[in-house]
Structure formats: C-alpha cells, structure tokens
Symmetry: D2
Amino acid sequence: MILVLRTDATSEQIDHIMERVEELGFEPRPIRGEFRTIIGLIGDDNKPHAEILEAIPGVEQVLRILKPFKLASREFHKPDTVVQVGKVRVGGGHLAMVAGPCAVESFEGLDAIAKRVKGAGANILRGGAFKPRTSPYSFQGLGEKGLRILRDVGDKYSLPVVTEVMDTRQVELVARHADMFQIGARNMQNFDLLKEVGQARKPVLLKRGMSSTVKDLLMSAEYILAEGNDQVVLCERGVRSFEDSTRNMLDISAVPNVKGQSHLPIIVDPSHATGRPDLIPPVALAGVAAGADGVHVEVHDCPEKALSDGPQALLPDQYDKLMADVRRLAQTFGKALG
Amino acid sequence: MILVLRTDATSEQIDHIMERVEELGFEPRPIRGEFRTIIGLIGDDNKPHAEILEAIPGVEQVLRILKPFKLASREFHKPDTVVQVGKVRVGGGHLAMVAGPCAVESFEGLDAIAKRVKGAGANILRGGAFKPRTSPYSFQGLGEKGLRILRDVGDKYSLPVVTEVMDTRQVELVARHADMFQIGARNMQNFDLLKEVGQARKPVLLKRGMSSTVKDLLMSAEYILAEGNDQVVLCERGVRSFEDSTRNMLDISAVPNVKGQSHLPIIVDPSHATGRPDLIPPVALAGVAAGADGVHVEVHDCPEKALSDGPQALLPDQYDKLMADVRRLAQTFGKALG
Amino acid sequence: MILVLRTDATSEQIDHIMERVEELGFEPRPIRGEFRTIIGLIGDDNKPHAEILEAIPGVEQVLRILKPFKLASREFHKPDTVVQVGKVRVGGGHLAMVAGPCAVESFEGLDAIAKRVKGAGANILRGGAFKPRTSPYSFQGLGEKGLRILRDVGDKYSLPVVTEVMDTRQVELVARHADMFQIGARNMQNFDLLKEVGQARKPVLLKRGMSSTVKDLLMSAEYILAEGNDQVVLCERGVRSFEDSTRNMLDISAVPNVKGQSHLPIIVDPSHATGRPDLIPPVALAGVAAGADGVHVEVHDCPEKALSDGPQALLPDQYDKLMADVRRLAQTFGKALG
Amino acid sequence: MILVLRTDATSEQIDHIMERVEELGFEPRPIRGEFRTIIGLIGDDNKPHAEILEAIPGVEQVLRILKPFKLASREFHKPDTVVQVGKVRVGGGHLAMVAGPCAVESFEGLDAIAKRVKGAGANILRGGAFKPRTSPYSFQGLGEKGLRILRDVGDKYSLPVVTEVMDTRQVELVARHADMFQIGARNMQNFDLLKEVGQARKPVLLKRGMSSTVKDLLMSAEYILAEGNDQVVLCERGVRSFEDSTRNMLDISAVPNVKGQSHLPIIVDPSHATGRPDLIPPVALAGVAAGADGVHVEVHDCPEKALSDGPQALLPDQYDKLMADVRRLAQTFGKALG
C-alpha cells in the first residue's frame, strides 16, 4: 500500500501518520519528493483496517497494490479450476452449454424445449422457478413446483440443472432439487446469500452485477470461496450503459480479464446482454473466441407465449444453428463441449 | 401500448398479431402508414403478459405509454405522502436530517456522535449493525449487539433510528429495535426483502441501486407499497459512472424527476455519492435546493479510527457548519426541519 | 411518428396539435384510449422540423418509428458495401488487417514495424502524424513530415496507408499523402470535418465516439455519405464505462448491430478498447467471430520507447501469433483477408 | 510518479527499469516489499515521456501523483479567476446568467427573447449561428447572418453575447462578432480548435464533453491557457449515463470538484443536462447552491416553433420565476449577479 500525502502536509501530520501506520502493523518507508512525500507501507494490504488510512489528516490518497481477493486469484491457485456440474465439467478446456427457457412454465413446455436443446448439444438445462421481476405485477415463477418440473425434465434428458436462488430462505429447497445454484445479477452483492450458497457445497453460477467491476465480481466469488466452496462459475451477462438499442452491454474483455486474474471458469450470457435474438448468436461466438468456458442462452419454442422474457429467447432452430457454429469454433481452438 | 410492425410484416403476420392482442384482452387500432403499420392497443399496459407482444413475429418494437408503477405514482395519489418516523415527519415540506456513523462500533462511540449531530439539528440517527461489505475480510458489523446500542443511544437523545436490513431473516430482529428499515443500494432489487419489509409495517428508507433508473427505483417502491406499506422514503445516493474522482455520481435531477412522478418523499445521500468530505456539504445543499425532503450524511468524530467508510464521513464540526447552511436554505424555500 | 398526449390534454390542445401537425405536412390519425389519446402521423419522420412536435402543449412524448439515417441504412442499400483502400477491399467477406504504431516517429522506426506487420499478414498500414493528445504537453505528432514517412514506407511495402485527420485545414494535406482518412473517436461529431472528408472522395475510417450510441455513429456516417462519399468503414473502439481495469469497454454487440442496420463495413480496434496487450488478442478474435470486417491493432517493436500509447501496443511477435489465429478463424467462417 | 513492479519481476528487469528511469531524468527510490518492489520517482510527472514507463518489461502499473494540468490548477494560481465578458464579471462571487434561444432564427425572434431575459436579470445573451446537429438533415444555423443578428440584439439590450464556434476556420469570423466563444461538448477535445481560441484572446465558455472526466475537462482548459488565454469559464452540462428519462446526467459534484482543483469559474447548464423544462429550474438552483458561478439556460418564447431543441427551452415566464429564485439563493449565499 502507498500513502500519497497532501502537498501541504505538516511535519506533525507526517509524524502522526507514521505512528498510526505502525500501530496498524505496517512498516512505513517514506520518500520525500520535491513537491510531496509518499510513504510505502510494507505489510498485508488486506488487513481489515486498511481503508481507514485515507481518513488520517494529511493523507490525500491511498494506493493499493495487492489484489483485494485471494482465494479467487490465480496467484493463489495457478491451474484452471474445473467445476463439476453433475457429469459435466466446466473450465480447463471444457465448455458449458447452458440452455433453456427463462422460466419453467409447465412440464410439457420444458420437456419440449429440453428435448431440442439436448439434441443441439446443450449439456446443462436452465429454467427459473423463482423469478426476480422488476414489477411486482409480473409472473413471479412457479416456485417449488417449478423446481420439481426442472428436476424431472433434467433427469429425463440426463441434463444437470441450474436455477436461480433469490433468498437465503430458499437455499435449502433449491439445493434439494438443482445441481447448481444461479446467483442473478441483482443479487451479486447479496452477501448473506453468497455466504449461504458457499456453505451449501453445490456449484454456483455467479452472474456479474449490472454495475459491478471485474474486481467486484471476483470479490463476490471470494465470499463463496471463503466459506469453503470453490465450485464457482462466473458469468458475464452485460452491464448497464448509455447504449439504448441493446438491453445491456456485454463486456467482452471481461472474459480474458477474469481468466488472467483468476482460476475460476467464466461463461457468457448473450441473451441478457443483448436482449435481441438477432444479436445473440454473433455475441455467443465472440465469447467463445475470447476464451469463455461456455455460453448461457435462453431458448423457447414459442417466445410469443413465454411468461417472461420471451423477446430475448432463441427459437430451437436458431439454437441448432448457433451450436453448429460453436462446435466449429471449439474445434478451431481445441476446446471440448462439457 | 403501441406495436410498431416491421416494414416487411406480411398481411398474414398482421392478421395473427391482431388475433393475439385480442386474445390478450386489448382492442387493436391499426394505422397503416406509407412504410409500415403501427397498432395502438386500447387496454391496460400493466397486464402481466404485455411484454410478450414483442415476441410475436412481425412486431419490431413495443412502446409502452402508461407508467408501469401505480401505487407509487402521483397520478394515483396526488398529495405528497408524509412519512412518520417516530415523531419526525418526512415529506410535504418537512426535511429529514439523517446523520450518524457508517457502522455502530460501541455505545460510547455512538453516544458521542449522536450528542453532536443532535446538537447540530439532526432529527434521525443512523448506524449500521449489518454491513454489506465488498470484501468478506472487512468488518461485517456488530449485528444484534449493534441494534441494541443504536436503540439505546437513540432513546437517550430522543432520536428515531434507522438501520440497514440485508436479509429476509433479519427483518423481524431489526423491526424490534429500529424505527425505520434501510434497504441499501445493493439490495434495491432484492425482491423478497422488499416484500418482507412491505409486510413489516415500519417506514422504509429505500436507496437507489447503483445502476438503477428512476423508473426501476419507483418499481422497487411499488413492491413495498403493494404489500400495503406506503411509508417509503426514497434516497438518491449516486450511480456508477466513468468519472473516477468521486465514488459515484449523484443524479441531482432524480430529485425533481421523482417528485414529479411520485408522491413519495426523496432525500439525498452525498456521503455515498461523492465519498469525499470536501464535496459532501455543497452536494447536500444542492439536494435541498433541488427540492429534496432531507439529507443523509455520515458523521464520525474520528474518521481515521472508523471501522468502515471513515474517509467519507464529516467531522462533527463540519456537520455543524453544513446544518447552519441547510437551515438558511430551508428558510429561503419555506421548508421545516422534521 | 407517434405523439403520445398528456393524460390531462384538453380538447382545445388536441385541436391545436392536429392543426400544427397538418401544417408541418403530416396526416394525423388519432386513437382515443381509456386514459389518453395518441396520434399516429403519416409522413416522413426525417422532416427537419419534426423534433419540435414535442414542444407543443399537451404532447408528452414523441416516438419516432423510422430510422433517422437513410443513406447509411440497409433498407436503402441492401448489399454489403465493399470499400476499396488502394488495392485492398474491406467488407463483403474481405477483412481489413490494419496495423502499425500509434504515431509515426521516424522512417527507420516505421520501416521496421511495417516490415513485421506486412510479414504477419497486415494489409493496411496505420500511423499518426497529427495526434489528438489529452495533454498539451504530450508529443503532438510529426505533422507533414510524418505523412511523408508514412507514404514512403507504405509504398516500400505495398501497403495502403491510413492516418488521422483532426482539423478541416489538414484535409487537403492528408489527402495528398494517405489512402484513407481516419476520423478519431474525439472527432466523430466534428460535423465540419465530416463534411470536408465527405467531399474529399477518399475512403474514411470513422471511429465511434466514446459516448456515442450506434445510432449516433450511423448518423455521423450519414454526414459523409450525404456529401456523396460512400467509402466509409466504421470502427468500434470501445466506449466509456465504470469498469476501471480497462481503458474503455468494447461493445461487441455493436458489430452485428451495425451490420443489421447498415451496409457499411465495421472493424474493431481492441488496442484502444482495452489498452492492455494481454487483452488485445482475445478481443480481436472475438471481433472477427462476431462478424467484424477487420481488426485495427497498434504494433510497436519497442513499446517502452514509443512516443505515445506504448503500453497498448502489441510486440511484432505477439502480432504474428494473433494473425495466425485470425487466419484460422477467417477460414472457419469463410472470410478472406483483404 | 510511482512504478509498481510485477510480483515476478526479475532482478535484471529491475536493473533495466532503474536505468531507464534515470535516462528519462527521474531519480528512482526503490522500496522492496514482501511480495513486490515499488519504485518512487523523484521528478516532474508531467514530462512528455512519462507514460511510456508502463511499457517497460516488469512494470505492472504507473501511478501518477501530480496533477497533469498546471496552469489550470489552483496550486499554481490560488485566487479565483474572474473572467470579464464585456462588462460582466464571472467568478469570484459574480454569477453569469446566460440565456437565450438554442439557435438564432431571426432578428425579431431574438429581439423578443432578449427583451424578456434581460428583464428577468440575464446578463449574457446566447444564441447559436453554427449548430452541431446529430443529423445532416437538421437545421444547421444561419451562419454569419446569425452572428450579425446576435451582435445587433446584444448591443440593443447591452448584453454581451456568446455563441458556439465549431471549426478552426470560423474562429476569426466569430471573434469579429461575439464577446465570448463557446466550445460545445462535442468539441471539448477538438484540440486544434482549443489552440485557435487560445490564441484569439477572447473569453471562452468550455463545455464538458459527454464522456469526459473532470480531469479531461481541466486538461482541455489547459490547452487554451497554454496559448496564453486565461479567460476560460467551464460549464457542466451533463454526461451520458444509463438513465433514460433525462437527456444527460448533470454531475453536480463536478462544481465543487472543479472549484477545489482549479481557479477557473464553472457554471451549470441544466437545459442540455436534463432536456426537460420541468427539471431545469430545480437543477439550476442546485447548481447555484453547490457553488456554481452561473447558470446557462435556453429560453424561447414559442418552443413549438423553435428550429432546434425547442422541447428543452424555458418559456420567458418560467425564466422570470427561476431568476427570482436564483436571486434569493444568491442573496442567501452572498453572491452577486454579474
């Protein structure tokens, strides 16, 4: 950590700062420049009280050097983590192809979609039973009934299943039915929920928040890892921006950015990122070309009757075509599906 | 609602669209233009299935006309809602002056701060017992012990107290000790939590999410109101932006923007918005001048020893000066404190 | 165009609105709903006075249906435009591989770099002679001398050359030396400059502004096309965002988004988008996978001695490796280089 | 400046770095920590070659300490600069009240508006003769004829006049007619134009770019000051954000943020920031309360017939009311108009 002092810091202030940082367990190394003094601190940047240094009179800025996450960092764990979801491996050259409707609506509906996405090559089935909806008047999901349908359809097609958990009180129930928890973008910093899924020892699909930096995302993963659960797959699903012709903006550079800093797998979700079926396939391919460990796509066989987010779903035929292209790309780059 | 059809929509598609919208309970009124057809739909925009119209083949865009929130809207309820927090009124010309440390650290610490902010004119005491921290290694709050201290200090100085609730499982506990719930920015779309505080029948301070639009904020308020609790105070606390010299960017226009559309009071939080003590007072005054119903400021008597967010707290002397300016402004615009 | 009237619009206001829109040459078609009236306007959305409709009392919102650009739109010109830069074709399945240093520094320096990028497969040479620098104290480019060096080196290696033009007064000079103008992100809405290069009848590489929407970008292209110059290649180079670990955020969905709406080619610039050599190759490949018509990359053989933007340049060896991957991708998707 | 080295930097790399920084004129002071080495550099951060340090192998990050602007900084020039526009003073407690139509449309039109805004208390008249329009098909301004009208009307009401200059070739012409140049948001980084107005020795109203940081704004001011012209008034006019119910987002904290770092005056422009007449007055007042040195507002007596941006103009009666409030605020805070 480095303290940059104010140009007008007095020598009394500097003495006080030196004392305080020693009290906090750092070894201070001042450098007196022409215009101002900086103080290098030898010690662990991640001490809990580190942030308060900025509040000491005479300090203008605190510059952190060490990354604030540890268990999630590649410095801590060099090789790629491979997450196991049922029989499917994610990471380390294995691509997760997650597909399914936004929400579970009925057994027949999900069955028809699962059949098609399995045929196209998907290896994980998704479907929401608890739905985070902007409006209290929108369809909120089938709840436990939806979880049962998802489990049954997953079993029928030998597809492990992932579904969103929105509240700490649902964790146990969801764990009984699903192979993987999904933490949605709106809950990426619901820290109690992160701790709870960290203790539940099932793999977690952690989506990046709409205004979260890459560092924030890795810090949220750290919450799960700190509970002893290292089975975390990250997901870039687009962030908020001023561009108004797409739902969000997929930060494609987040894929190699995460992979450079962390050993955790990361997949992309072009459905939520773009909100437009015409843009989903090219953005999915871009994700794979950038090194993503998989693609998460919403598929519905009758978007105009979907109970939520119909407009952003691919039709099964469109998904077939996308998967054919993904396969060619995977082959070009020496990756395997699942 | 208005459907804008694609320029290449076929007459079969148009017939199908007309049928579907009638099935969904709307009365369609087509307008055939030179280049394309649009269809005006007579009926309630807020029907749950409305969004799926965009997924009908031949439809390019769906334009909503009605606002998606109802109970929170000024069209529904013309007069300003006045929220009662203990004996303090917020809204309708009454300003809430919320002040206190980021986190409750000890009885003595909070007592000293409360004495000063009460003296300066604050009318609601704040302090976190459950802290949403980006890092799992940061101080997470004193929990129930913190709630008790907050209650005792509030009682000692006759100040109603507000504190953050982060998880549905904490609602009952927090309700026992606090006069008002705070829903933090990271939980603005934690819908289960919104429903729970909606049922708890205590006033709620609802902070805008870091990447939430004004409409999103009002929709989240609608979740609380839909449970029968209309005692909601909104809070503009800055949104994420590219500007890197401040922590967030306070959207000053959100104040009159909300007040035009909704009857709910709205206050500003310049502490979280700027993260810089030098910017807190001018931004607080700007909020009042723009019509805000109060100001939320973090105050600490020794920021360099604060366990969280010390650098963004005002010193008690700085708060005294700010309150003197707020009083002059309030007088200029005919507002009363509390 | 559609006018959405206020819920409290009086019948006098509605009469006045009907008269005004007729005066402006539109045919009004009112639809009276339960809560409010909307008026569909038959006529050309692009009339110059259209925007003022929003200012008529009683109008709440004006919804445009037609796209505001015409010459740049795919509705106007279905097939892909192929832009000819020297002997190189860009668009319609032909990929532009633009490479070179940020700034032209010397003949020897550029010669060494050009030799390497030509060897790797680049087909257009870039290099700045006029540099838009944030600081007046930074290196501002060699000016005309730089243009001459660029021309000579381009000729030596049979590479057409592209260079930035920053000011209308430089257009003639740049046109004498370069094969293609570059309009930088900061000048995307320098409308006088757009008109000037539109009249110059040389191909233009138009970079998206840091806070411009896709629509804004196409409107700026429209300025050039409206002067009779249809040889425009667009460039996605990242937009400003809150993410602070990369220089900008490349909007990958802009590639298919532009290609759906416009016949103009679009390339990606991962150098300016990411500002980090480790992220440039994966983001470049993502661009090609998403359908981009080329890649613009800065290459320098000694970044630590570059006079500008050294940190974001690839080394020649890194560029070799990237081009090998681009070739495999191009083959996978049936594209040709140049 | 501080170099943060990579954790895996070799001792050869460190030696090379030490040599290079000495070559570049800095005195290096290494601090060897537990995990990595940092090197403090004694010397001037603003040397032109400073940025290339990041490209030296083994360097992970370069942290600048000194501000990159000098002439614009308050450290360089402590007292507030007072800019003289005709007989009106701006800054140092004097408020500029700039008002007028978006575009000059006719003598009669401008005359009628000028009469009203003068009556209300405006002290500088604005009006565009060269208009930067997103669409090439929109009204582009009256050009020289517009400048003449502006001059004549300004003289008639003894109001100094400000108008936008968009191109270096217009500088001389505009200087002949106007008392102050306006550099619009889209041209904030048109560096040739900044140099040209820097040499013209007339006051300049420099608007913040839509995606420019406060530092970028001050760097652009530095371009003008570096040419010897210190008569620069900055203007916060809103930045691009994800909020879609307002045209831009006014960064209210930019006002005190600029005033802390720079001696230059700064005003706010709520017209362009919000784009909505209902939000202009409260946001204008917020600006004054935050310490702005003036307010820039568009006023039109018949917005529905305005040739550009009618919907964001105040009516003269609304402007009267706003000015009455501004006067009370100014009095409260001890400021004078003009």
